[in-house]
Symmetry: D2
Subunit: 496 residues, 4 copies
């Protein structure tokens, strides 16, 4: 740190900082996340004086992830403020490219709206009408375009089955009767027409290829980004334009002739049966009484108490994947997870950003941040940030003592008897029975260490009831939980 003398800051720095802060204000910036250091401190102070909120973070990575979430949540630019040099390099984890001390995570102005070509809309409507086994897939792009009204109307008016992608969850509520999330694999595999609303055929959607799809499935792709159209699979129809505007065009076109996809079709029956059997299987697993708990038991209890209006943030491996199938979203843009790239370390930054938005826009609203124990390690020190700003966050750590899986304390101790830990400890193991909840109590928040369904229920109830401080619930599960899950192969991600 070449210069740390806070008192010696120059006039030039101060006035330069004011100019930058004013520019940020003009761009409608509401939140800055950062780590101060000369000369960035001045900018933060100047921004506060103009009414911009400054959230001091503990590592540049988390600051960047927080800033990147703001644009998605509010449509306004999020700013990450770090010192150049090492700080900037740290921040690269959250940024693809940057060459200044501060930058914007999203466009500043809402872009003009474009619509699809009329004739293409016409073709798309016709393809949908003639579908035998139609399916809508609702992606993050639909959430980003605020297309919830129009897509919900489409679903309900024509009785079309739909699936959300991870961040498309909540555009239409997960508990909607047309949601076929619990029969995901079946729906993908047998659909003959699939309409993608801002969803991309990446690995999460198995690239749109057989055997996960019919070889002759017709894709209708609705997207704002011309470059994304036709990647991996050549769509039957492409509708380039603002997703909300295009969905309205589709509705208008379909409205011209009365029509509805028959709710008692064989396709609907197949899907409903599959959903029923999958849900029964999950429920059975969730109701197991054996200890330590398994993932399903944990998530069913969480789901029972989950407030309808909360933000859900999540990262981890099984924690994120299984949690996503059980925890329901009822509102658009209320789920943030590690997403397409599976980037670890995003959770607490995202949760902090969501909590700032919740606090300012809907007092009383909560952020539930569901972390694997390994995932929590990437940015756990941000708990101090959460306590410092007293943010309405409930952290759940689903703790299996490792990455993918770990050992219980007895096995661990036995293992260490032979030789040193660095020689014999499998690389995916973490310390068993870590008391992560103390990382919360260290900073004045509330911490819980829970091992049974009853303790989990109680701690959740207390956390939700106490709106005066953040809390962390450290939930011990079976360290080898993954293995068991694999016995039920229909439970793994690709078969739901």
């Amino acid at each position: 740190m070449p210069d740390n003398n806070f008192a010696e800051r120059s006039e030039e720095q101060v006035s330069g900082a004011k100019v930058i802060a004013q520019a940020l204000k003009t761009q409608d910036v509401e939140y800055i996340f950062g780590i101060v250091g000369i000369p960035v401190t001045e900018i933060a102070i100047a921004a506060q004086q103009l009414g911009i909120k400054y959230i001091g973070m503990r590592n540049e990575q988390a600051a960047c992830y927080a800033a990147s979430a703001i644009g998605y949540l509010t449509g306004r630019p999020g700013v990450c403020l770090v010192v150049s040099g090492p700080g900037l390099i740290h921040a690269l984890g959250g940024m693809a490219n940057a060459n200044m001390n501060c930058w914007y995570m999203e466009r500043c102005m809402s872009p003009p709206i474009s619509m699809a070509e009329t004739s293409a809309v016409c073709t798309a409507a016709s393809v949908i009408r003639n579908a035998k086994q139609p399916l809508l897939i609702i992606g993050k792009g639909a959430a980003y375009a605020h297309a919830e009204e129009s897509i919900k109307k489409l679903v309900e008016q024509y009785k079309l089955p739909f699936l959300p992608t991870p961040m498309g969850k909540g555009v239409v509520p997960d508990n909607h009767p047309c949601c076929v999330g619990a029969a995901r694999s079946r729906a993908l595999q047998f659909a003959d027409v699939i309409v993608l609303f801002g969803a991309r055929l990446n690995w999460i959607l198995h690239f749109g290829l057989p055997p996960r799809y019919q070889p002759d499935v017709k894709f209708i792709q609705v997207d704002i980004c011309a470059e994304e159209l036709g990647n991996n699979v050549k769509p039957a129809v492409t509708l380039l334009g603002n997703i909300n505007a295009v969905t309205k065009q589709l509705l208008e076109e379909l409205d011209k002739t009365p029509w509805q996809y028959p709710p008692e079709s064989k396709w609907w029956k197949t899907l409903r049966e599959k959903m029923k059997s999958n849900e029964a299987a999950s429920k059975e697993l969730a109701s197991k009484k054996s200890l330590p708990m398994n993932y399903y038991t944990v998530f069913y209890h969480v789901q029972e108490q989950l407030p309808r209006d909360c933000f859900v943030v999540s990262e981890g491996a099984n924690t994120m994947d299984i949690g996503r199938t059980v925890l329901q979203n009822y509102r658009p843009r209320h789920r943030l997870d590690a997403g397409t790239f599976g980037t670890m370390g995003v959770g607490l930054g995202f949760a902090i950003a969501a909590a700032m938005v919740a606090k300012d826009r809907s007092p009383g609203q909560r952020v539930i941040c569901v972390e694997g124990d390994s995932a929590f390690g990437f940015s756990g020190m941000e708990v101090e940030t959460i306590c410092r700003y007293n943010l309405p966050i409930i952290l759940l750590i689903v703790n299996n003592n490792g990455i993918y899986q770990g050992f219980d304390t007895d096995t661990w101790k036995e293992m260490l008897k032979f030789r040193g830990a660095t020689a014999v400890v499998p690389p995916m193991c973490l310390l068993p029975n870590s008391h992560y909840e103390q990382v919360m109590t260290a900073f004045g928040g509330k911490g819980y260490f829970v091992q049974t369904p009853e303790e989990l229920q109680k701690s959740l109830r207390q956390s939700l009831a106490d709106t005066t401080k953040p809390s962390l619930i450290n939930i011990m599960i079976e360290p080898q939980a993954t293995r068991k899950a694999q016995d039920f192969h229909w439970l793994t991600r690709s078969n739901m």
Copy 2:
């Protein structure tokens, strides 16, 4: 994380991993630091089977910093193992460039040794003999070249005053009678001949320019790197070559004619007087009884109990700068700090690397890691790593509730009464009275919260005595300590 199914790892991955692990073994790799994930897990396991030690970290940044320290400490390559994609980007904080899943932090083979040109050595010896006010500056390069024997001989045989740079500390012990560290500014300012042993004229040495130096000071630069010679200042003599080999050449040349720099010269007297007065001033400050403690009180008590053979790792602003002047090093390559770039977040990674080396090479040896409270936040979750491997580390957090400075609890509470924290909390403030020691107890280590000299002494004594587990001492100091320090301008870094 596109694929997290540990059980489904392919034959190809396993055998590919073995090849890589064998290659690392052939390159003499002893330690790998990393975060596993498919397909990197296989490499870690294969490496363990070949006797390479694997240390699982919590964030790629810390893993990289740890790996980068290994080369300096052992002369063998340190390896950082991360998943490509987001993990690799996280790891960039510790690497200037990288394009593979794993790489080496240092050359694999010891390079051939080069020597300086004979005539240049001759000239340098003559310049030294004719110096009125000579000074040696011992840098990190001298430590890296294992030049301790030859440089110590040079210092003692010719009675030359010397100064170490931060990571040059310990090449000759800090308590050596020829060490003039306590009169640093004076020595730099009035020397007429300065010999740089692997030290560079960067900002830490004020670029070698007036008014911190005589305008006509003659620099003799001893360095292995041709590109570094003559940066900023044109040296009078440059000796390009291996620093140990060149120092031996210098000794041989000086030995040809009996000579010694007079220990009772005016220059030595001036320096001794200045050292005496500076030390007295520091001691007075250190002996202050007022609470909360100041930096000097803290460091004097730490120094009193500091084991002679320990590693000292440090990062922070004032914590690192003031600590460096008080805490003494007696061995080469036993101090690691945030160094030239002041990179925050290196401390725990460095400490873990040093602890691995200590544990394996000198059982009983300790690592003292001195962190500012803000600095600790960058990688504090690595405390779990420390506990998991039960590493011989004592963490000292010098806690002033902020970056550079913070507030006490009362001021903090008063401040929050007005509006929300994000609006009024100065950007450099952290939560007051954070119980960082609980981050240690959460994982089974020993934690201390200390507010008085007596508590500090006692906790240090206990930590040093208990060799069964790591500990963390959270030392509360005056939150506005910086300000006070500035009243005594002779205490700031540049005047010691």
Copy 3:
């Protein structure tokens, strides 16, 4: 060149080449420009066997520029084929990024068509109707979108004055009565509503800022690229979509209510008067009998004989700028110039690409390539390529013995008497009286060295009449022509 043994090419190279060639064919590639070398030769041969045309160039820069023009001219991808290593680096002049031996200069498939939001079209139509002093600016984007029909209809139906940008010339013919190119500065300065069709407010359009524009001018921006909307100036209305489709939407909207911009308005009168006076001034200058000729004399004679259907390619400083105001385009996508970045060296590559297209699609059609003498030097050796393939190109070199300006032979000789050329020759001077036409005769083409209007007329006539070989006319002008031009400040680019 690590391996130049043509006979030793491996089976693998041959079959790999066939795969690549087939892929290019599948992508509808019609032309490849390149420089061969192992292993690229095989690809070129395999491509020829599949009916793709291969044009061997003399420098990778020109090859890339040629390939980049093909997409614009034909809507199909142009390919540049170079050896990796040094060849690839040479080629970077024509490419922003590339990491393979071959790549495409344009998207392969025509993208889906998007339209503007209906309400925005409505607003735009209303703004146009209410304009007092409207102006259309037709840019390269309009040409690229093949919007000539719809824009011409808009101009003619509503009697709106329009200006083309350099590469927008010809979308509506330059000699159209509504074209106000000859009153460019006036039109920009006083318009109250400006509709931009695929034109961007960059330096060529003075960034859309006062004093070149009214401070309260309303811009309506029609563009396919959301990122370009609102740069520099905040538009009153933005119409995001395919430019042709959006223009049709505009026409449809305006058609709803009969309306026309009054052809006898004060605005039209002002513009017509300014055009008249500017044209008179240019004509006077063009008719000057003094020798050497000036730019205007040269271009007026060229314009007199310019075939209506020819391609015009141009690069240079004054040569390009003044030539653009005099030489008329009557067809869309028939002008290619150094454009926004003023890149020197693009001319011959562009001309070769245009000539290939002309030869294949409209036999008899000619390419007129107007080069400054300095500009010609960047890729003059491509004349051999032109002769080798016997391309229908007439090269005009407007030769003032320098960059911006030069010296006549006498001054040059006088100057050299003093000291060596490298000491006294001004950096912008080239050799006076260079016989560039011999670079054409060296390869069997026809060359002319002309110094008078009569010689220019005659050589043009002969070149146009002789369809059996390419020709180059080296036109000597006043070396200090720029200076004279500056006396007539209304002649400079920004005041026309």
Copy 4:
């Protein structure tokens, strides 16, 4: 070109230019190569006023290649001055990286000299003494280090056979009795000890691997660059240091005990016999009377008249490779060729740089630039630069109508009868019988078109006699010359 108004240059530009020019002067810059454009023109003018020579080039590529040669030739920095933007990208062909308008091609100051470790020198001397079949390889690094005196002494005093690499030619004259270039393959294949003086084991030296070398050959590597030591092959001894200084150390060590490698050893006999038979075969080919000429006939005639002190610059495929074996160098640093990467387009830039140096330092000295016809095309327009500055360059174009090989005129015409040239012309063909010499006469130089040995002899004699202007000799050879050469496989590069 955003602004080309030369007259409007601002005061700021002028004074900024002066500062830059003065900085270049201070750095001892003697030559600047560039292409002007605002704001670079000002810098060029300011530099000329300070006595720096400015050479205006026609393409940035050539400018960069010229600048890069200056450091090698003079030991002082060469500067390339181009406009940022497109010009800078063009210039990348000559630069690995650059981010400013101007930069230096070499270090500014001569670096300090380092020596090898005494014990390593001792070992190396012992290995050399015990060699049965020793060989020295003299590389570009030896030339760069000005090690000609010391290496020649080593060769002569100990009677050691040596081979030069392409740019190591002339460090010891090619006609020295110890030079075994004519038995290159044999020497490499059977040597038991090889000392590399600044030569690297890259593809030119077959990576130092069997079967081109004995599996147990011992390499002694003398190099200034630690990173280069031990690449590809692990050397028996490495001597790190300045090559001249280290060679002197070696001489000193070997001098301690009288010794000489026996000139009548079996190794010397083998090498001499092989050289004799290879030379006889080459001579026979060279003496062939059939027309068109072959490569050997051409080069033997050139060699006969080659001035002892000339610079030889060369690029091309067979032209460079075969020419290198026939054309002899007698002085160090007097050969420049396309080198390790085989970069095409470097020839004229290198020749211009060498000619500037020749003109200024040894008036009367000539530069012979030997180009393949394809190679000439990359930067042929620089002939105007050569004429403008009247540089003492003789360009030889060895013209086989193509890249690697081409067709004669009759075959060419026959071929075109079928379909268009782009469909049937093989990609490696260029126009037959191109009169490249007219590219020289176009600018006032002397041009020759030669088809017989007699014409070649005569044109060479005239070119060398006429010191008033540059000349270009366009030498027609058998278009399929490569094929014939392959009948004599002992003539190819790897068997000489």
